[in-house]
């Protein structure tokens, strides 16, 4: 099958939607001639013009608010927030407005809007451009939270996000933009709330998202040589969460490690661990382990940064501790 990058997979969906749906438009900082800080929208401004690919002022409140308002009157905006760290400049919109409107107004409006943003460290960008904050707004009822790990998933999930009539937060890990994977040329949708078993195994389950999914796969391959069979599952959407698939896997392997690049404390792993404990307690042969970024701001110097961010060695250590539990 055809192989393209994660970046190209996302670009392909944006291009298709702009082409086929006149209600779809993009707005965000530097998404015009520059093509976005990470080049995802490159060429779209030239193709669709100012009206459909809207370069905005550096105004996150206005970007999120304008997308919300336009969606409430029938448009299908796709906003780009350059870094998830900047999401919280628009804190009121993201906590009190966008996720509340449909419910609070008694189901009077639909809000078909997608907010694409980036997560992840690895670029020595320090504390304000490196975070993985996908768990923070997963706490607020009203958003769908998508965290793809492969080009294939990114394409199918973004298609679903744009078709959905609810606000969707779509988190793209910066370290994934250049990875290559098999992606069908035609359009397809991947439903929300369906986890994907990236690697089948029988001795332990790793639940991992975004770049940590790839790190986990490599750990699993290495441990296979020692005779350990590790299953790697990507939930793909944190809200809604496909807890059934995760529980089924743990019932089979009896051991679970949850990995993400978000900070450990109060991160997505805490929620997943609690649900597994709730629903699969009798099947567990060891405590549930979490691997996440250490609970301090992300530093700039490469050696400090990699110390804070979960590495394959950290994942392997967690896995071994459970195998030998």
């Amino acid at each position: 099958m055809r192989q393209i990058t994660f970046r190209e997979a996302i670009h392909e969906v944006l291009d298709y939607e702009l082409e086929t749906n006149s209600d779809v438009f993009l707005l965000g900082e530097d998404i015009g001639p520059l093509g976005g800080a990470f080049g995802v929208t490159k060429g779209l401004w030239e193709k669709y013009g100012n009206e459909r690919v809207r370069n905005t002022p550096l105004s996150e409140v206005a970007i999120v608010g304008a997308a919300t308002g336009a969606a409430s009157v029938g448009k299908r905006p796709i906003a780009e927030i350059m870094f998830c760290d900047f999401l919280f400049v628009a804190g009121d919109q993201l906590v009190n407005q966008t996720p509340k409107m449909r419910f609070m107004f008694g189901d009077q409006c639909q809000l078909p809007l997608v907010i694409r943003t980036t997560i992840g460290a690895g670029q020595s960008a320090a504390a304000q451009h490196s975070q993985s904050l996908e768990g923070m707004l997963a706490h607020i009822p009203g958003f769908i939270t998508v965290v793809p790990s492969t080009p294939h998933d990114a394409k199918g999930l973004l298609k679903t996000a744009i078709e959905n009539n609810n606000p969707v937060l779509f988190y793209e890990h910066k370290g994934l933009y250049n990875i290559i994977g098999e992606v069908p040329k035609e359009m397809y949708s991947i439903p929300f709330g369906v986890a994907d078993i990236k690697r089948a195994g029988s001795d332990l389950t790793i639940i991992a998202t975004a770049e940590t999914m790839h790190k986990s796969l490599r750990v699993a391959e290495r441990l296979q040589k020692e005779g350990f069979s590790i299953e790697v599952i990507d939930p793909r959407t944190l809200v809604p969460l496909d807890i059934e698939t995760l529980v089924l896997s743990v019932k089979k392997t009896h051991r679970a490690v949850i990995v993400h690049e978000a900070h450990l404390s109060y991160g997505p792993g805490a929620e997943i661990a609690a649900r597994l404990a709730d629903e699969a307690f009798d099947y567990l042969d060891a405590p549930i382990k979490r691997v996440g970024a250490k609970d301090i701001p992300i530093p700039m110097a490469p050696h400090l940064e990699s110390y804070i961010i979960p590495q394959e060695a950290d994942i392997e250590r967690a896995v071994r501790s459970l195998i030998h539990y």
Binding site: V61, G69, K75
Partner: protein, 318 residues
Amino acid sequence: MIEKDLARAFLITMKKIRIFEEEAVKLFAGHELPGWLHSYIGEEAVATGVCLALNPGDYISSTHRGHGHCIAKGVSLRKMMAELYGKETGYCKGRGGSMHIADFSMGMLGANGIVGGGIPIATGAALGSQMNKDNKVTVCFFGDGASNQGAFHESLNLASVWKLPIVYVCENNLFAETTPQTDHQAIHNIADRAVAYGMPGVIADGMDVISVYNVARKAIDRARSGEGPTLLEAKTYRYRGHWEGDPQPYRSKADIEEWKKKDPIINFERFLIDQKLFTVPEIKSLTEEIINEINDAIEFGRTSPFADPQACLSTLYL
């Protein structure tokens, strides 16, 4: 000179707001209404003058002090009152209450509990109109307090640079919640801020419905013809506290009495009688009709059923 039909519409709308608010205040004081209440009494001329200058399909967004805007936009009093009662028949099925009334079918895009929170959203509605070329104008209501929020700055800048069909109506009632304007900004006229966004800043006498209507009309026409946004400041005053229960240590009774001399309804009635547009009995009968309509709305709210909590659980991601 003012046409009789328009004068009647002004008077009916302002009185509807006043009487609705007076009744709501009583019901709240009698513990019949749950939640919170922010009364619009005193500011009726602003919502009325602005909304009557709009076309029926135009959009408005509102604030925590939103009842006046809703009524002036022509929404159902029954559904409003039922919402205040927290009933299933209310606009938000009891989920929103006083601070979150919306009627999308009437272009009323929602009141808002966060000061300044609705300004970016209204800006987005205007963006939708511009892109759809639907010839609609959005009016965004907010207060002097909201003019100090970052959301105000970001929104006016965006609307200006994109020439969006929107009018930002700042109801300057001289208090940001409980803080006097002189303590929360070093300017007197909020309309002056328009200069910073490259848009016109205009001032209306918010106690005079004709002044508000005339100034709003111009700004709305400008927005509709594609010339971009306007910041309209209406100088007004609220007679009651920020919320029902506010002890109001920040102003004197004498201040309030002074402003009441400019009452938008009493003075307008006097004007209509002086101009021989209406007689005293005509006004009396029109007032009685309004009282009946509001009593009907109260009865509807009072007797409506509460929503099923289970149904509310299943509706987040429709």
